[in-house]
């Protein structure tokens, strides 16, 4: 049993993804008027969901060369990926940054981050409680 369990590690992964998403939103907004620029996005939640999904039968892998069955990947090993949005835009300069979508995504991302900080703090508080023998 680890002290800092998988809950905390999953939260850290999510927070890293949120930081990267903020970075890319800033980058997309910075290039909102750059001709030919294509927006960059973070792909994380769908990958994590795929990794967390229990597909019924989970094949045991006794060899590192085995193709994982059932569970796609270790959820803790899921890293955020950067994807370039290649969708064509209606703008004549070839730029496809959507100001409103970026601003809205940025606001919800910040809230998501705050929520994860809170959950992580709750986790730390529980550990603290356990270390104090429940009395602290």
């Amino acid at each position: 049993m680890e002290l800092f369990g998988s809950n905390l590690q999953l939260l850290m992964g999510g927070m890293n993804a949120a930081l990267l998403r903020q970075q890319l939103a800033a980058q997309n907004l910075a290039n909102a008027d750059t001709p030919g620029y294509k927006a960059a996005r973070v792909v994380f939640e769908t990958r994590l969901q795929t990794a967390l999904a229990d597909n019924g039968i989970i094949g045991a892998s006794t060899n590192p060369g085995h193709i994982p069955l059932g569970r796609a990947a270790d959820p803790l090993a899921v890293r955020p990926q950067v994807a370039i949005d290649t969708l064509r835009s209606g703008r004549p300069d070839g730029n496809n940054v959507d100001l409103e979508a970026e601003a809205a995504g940025m606001a919800s991302n910040a809230l998501w981050y705050s929520a994860m900080v809170r959950l992580a703090n709750d986790e730390f508080r529980r550990l603290h409680l356990v270390m104090g023998g429940g009395g602290a």
């Binding site: 800033a26 001709p35 100001l99 970026e102």
Partner: protein, 146 residues
């Protein structure tokens, strides 16, 4: 590992670039009727060319081993003159009129400049919002473990 301060640097680069763009537009509007310049001839409209830039630090993308997304901010690559023809206005009494009585006025279209100014101003605001959001996230991070 994403960089906490990378987005601040990115947004700051955009604020700088948009402000410079607004300065160029202001110069165009100020010289909309300048018929005589030091270089000779009327004033020629300038255009700020924006290009994605690579910041020396805060390169979260390269840290992730991603390619194709190296752009990390924005900068004004160049301020280039607009080659479009000058406006011809018939005014024989003007000291800069040619033999036929036509005065060459700058190729500045006030309407176009105002639209560009609005766009630059709005983009500036959007980047300011991005900057403040990044600041909020950084402050939240400091609350971790409290």
């Amino acid at each position: 590992m994403a960089d906490l301060f990378g987005s601040l640097v990115t947004s700051a680069s955009a604020l700088t670039a948009e402000r410079l763009r607004m300065t160029v537009i202001a110069g165009n509007i100020a010289n909309a009727n300048t018929t005589r310049t030091a270089a000779g001839g009327p004033y020629r409209r300038s255009v700020a060319v924006l290009t994605p830039s690579q910041q020396p630090f805060g390169s979260a993308l390269s840290a992730l081993g991603q390619s194709g997304g190296e752009a990390n901010g924005v900068e004004v690559a160049a301020i280039v003159p607009d080659p479009s023809p000058f406006r011809l206005v018939y005014d024989p009494s003007h000291p800069d009129a040619d033999a036929q009585g036509f005065v060459r006025y700058p190729n500045v279209d006030i309407l176009q400049e105002m639209v560009d100014l609005m766009a630059a101003s709005r983009t500036y605001e959007a980047n300011l919002t991005a900057f403040n959001t990044a600041k909020t996230i950084a402050q939240k991070t400091l609350e971790l473990g409290r």
